[in-house]
Amino acid sequence: MKYSGYHGRFGGAFIPEILVPTFDELEAAYLEAKADPAFWQEYEQLMSTYSCRATPITYAENLTKYFGGAQIYIKREDLNHTGAHKANNVMGQGLLTKRMGKKRVIAETGAGQHGVATATMAAKFGFDCTIYMGAVDVARQRPNVFWMEQMGATVVAVEDGSATLKDAINEAFRDWVTNMDDTHYVLGTACGPYPFPDMVSWLQSIIGKEAREQMLERTGQLPSRCYACVGGGSNAMGLFGGFFEDESVQLVGVEAGGHGRGIGQHAVRLAYDDATVGVAQGYKTYFLQNTDGQMQETHSVSAGLDYVGVSPILAALHESKRVRFEAATDAEVVEAMQLTVRKEGLIPALETSHGFAQAFKEAPEMSKDEIILINQSGRADKDIFTVADAIDDPKWKEFIIRKAEEYKRA
């Protein structure tokens, strides 16, 4: 590869030898696309006709009044086709896949959002598609599996390891080392070996580019703080990407605080001290691991943030202090989601709601002249099973039990 893919001491490409030519090819395609204005144009065109870019910015008037501090604006990635920012990355990689002449895509998925987005892209581009998903996630995210299958994708339930996202990533790599000739691996976040973190961040930067322009046009000023949840880091990198040069803009990444501090209780790689630097899944970053370097179980109410590693670019931005990292606990997150639903009629995904939770902690202390911008990375209505469980809704349970009786009778 032309570049090493390091950001500070993080990143790199720790890949099996057999993938070296594949990564060479991918890096070349990525760098070429990046240098070619026609690519970005085609990408924007696709996103504005197939999804609804530019996604709007919504002024959250009720929440602003409720907290009585900074003015709250929301970047609406939830309005994307398939319901999350994942669509940006996926459609961009779809164009790259076409450029590389490949005919098949594979992807990992945790919550299922990235799987649905990839299956959708594959249907649109006419690619074969296999999605790897931890067996635990397949069991709890059936609605997403259902749609992936409807799109024509093969969904493989990964039984190994903890049978969740990281295992799905390993399994996707195993597929790739066998089928790299005709297959592109559509990694779903700003993690993994170079050039993935850079490429995914670049594709997602469409969020921040739009947002910066929209904020200036709407309010005539830049936000004081931008908030985004951080799983792998792609939606955060996407939003922040529009504001790195603006020193006045504080960038805040919010990780999954789960039940609180202590390894196994959360998925906080940067805001807490439980993670250490390591190398896994092809890249160097902070991981939630033990002293031997074995990855540990993580926990979050939101499947999409429930991951052991984090974007190496964000790890570097953490060290350089350009981005501040915070954590929101499961309880705070569910509360923030419910408040947002009730006050604004917006349904942020549980992942997304981490960003809202942190913003809500800070907004009241800020001045009314200040503006904060939250990235609504996705909508929660596809995750109704998870949300209903998080809220512990008795009527929902009754409904499911009755529905099950119906199915058993039939």
Partner: protein, 254 residues
């Protein structure tokens, strides 16, 4: 020195056999017993895999063994300890196979120094291309240990030479794309590939991925110096018990 051992041994045998186990799977006692069986059956050198939670380059059998070993309590300390017992008891070369994070977590220099002190002669780290391996390669060199790198069917000639320059002991050539433990068609194409490997390095060649029968061994003979049997011995052990391993190996080298 690994390379000279292999060269010497090749004077006596036209194909050496390297086998593989996952340390601590299903437990450390069994690991020791399997090594014993293998050595007694005439294995020429062995990979000892230190289990890792994310064995990205391994297929289902070894992957499962990694996970089970960790679940059963295999730590890096215990793996090093048993490895030391093994090298002390058996008189063939042993290599470590593991993923880079195991080295990185312990400190690369420290890990390599310990390898040396417990009598391990080399290492295969499948997720550490030489571009990322500066510290590791230096430590290996300082300790006169053999860093083994991998050739694959889609490795270009130039990169083969580059990898060879960074390697010692032998080159691990994989017979096909994919992860460990799947079938390989041993064909003419494979012969061409191995000829290309041979042309690119002075080091002995080991051929792995999918070797599981005497017929496979016969095909390899003349093309490579070492046949590698990995997943198949684990399958035999899982199916027929530790005691069956010796017999299986004997059928290969017969």
């Amino acid at each position: 020195m690994l390379k000279s051992y292999i060269r010497a041994r090749r004077q006596q045998k036209d194909l050496l056999l390297m086998t593989h186990i996952v340390l601590g799977y299903p437990n450390f006692d069994d690991s020791l017993r399997v090594v014993e069986q293998m050595v007694e059956a005439g294995v020429d050198l062995m990979e000892l895999q230190i289990p890792f939670s994310e064995p990205m380059a391994d297929g289902p059998v070894i992957l499962h063994a990694n996970a089970e070993a960790i679940k059963a309590g295999a730590t890096v300390d215990k793996s090093l300890e048993i490895a030391e017992q093994i090298t002390r008891r058996f008189d063939i070369p042993f290599l470590f196979m593991t993923y880079f994070n195991i080295l990185y977590a312990r400190g690369v220099d420290k890990f390599v120094d310990e390898m040396k002190s417990i009598g391990i002669q080399g290492a295969i780290v499948p997720d550490l291309p030489p571009e990322e391996g500066e510290e590791y390669l230096a430590a290996m060199k300082r300790n006169a240990l053999s860093p083994i790198h991998i050739y694959t069917p889609n490795t270009p000639d130039a990169r083969m030479r580059q990898l060879s320059d960074q390697s010692d002991g032998f080159i691990y050539t994989v017979a096909r794309k994919g992860v460990t433990g799947k079938d390989t068609q041993f064909s003419d194409e494979l012969g061409d590939y191995l000829a290309r490997c041979r042309a690119s390095t002075d080091l002995p060649l080991a051929l792995g991925f999918g070797v599981k029968s005497k017929a496979d061994m016969d095909f390899i003979r003349g093309h490579a110096d070492i046949a590698v049997v990995g997943s198949e011995t684990i399958r035999v052990m899982e199916r027929e018990g530790v005691e069956a391993v010796k017999g299986f190996i004997q059928t290969l080298v017969a």
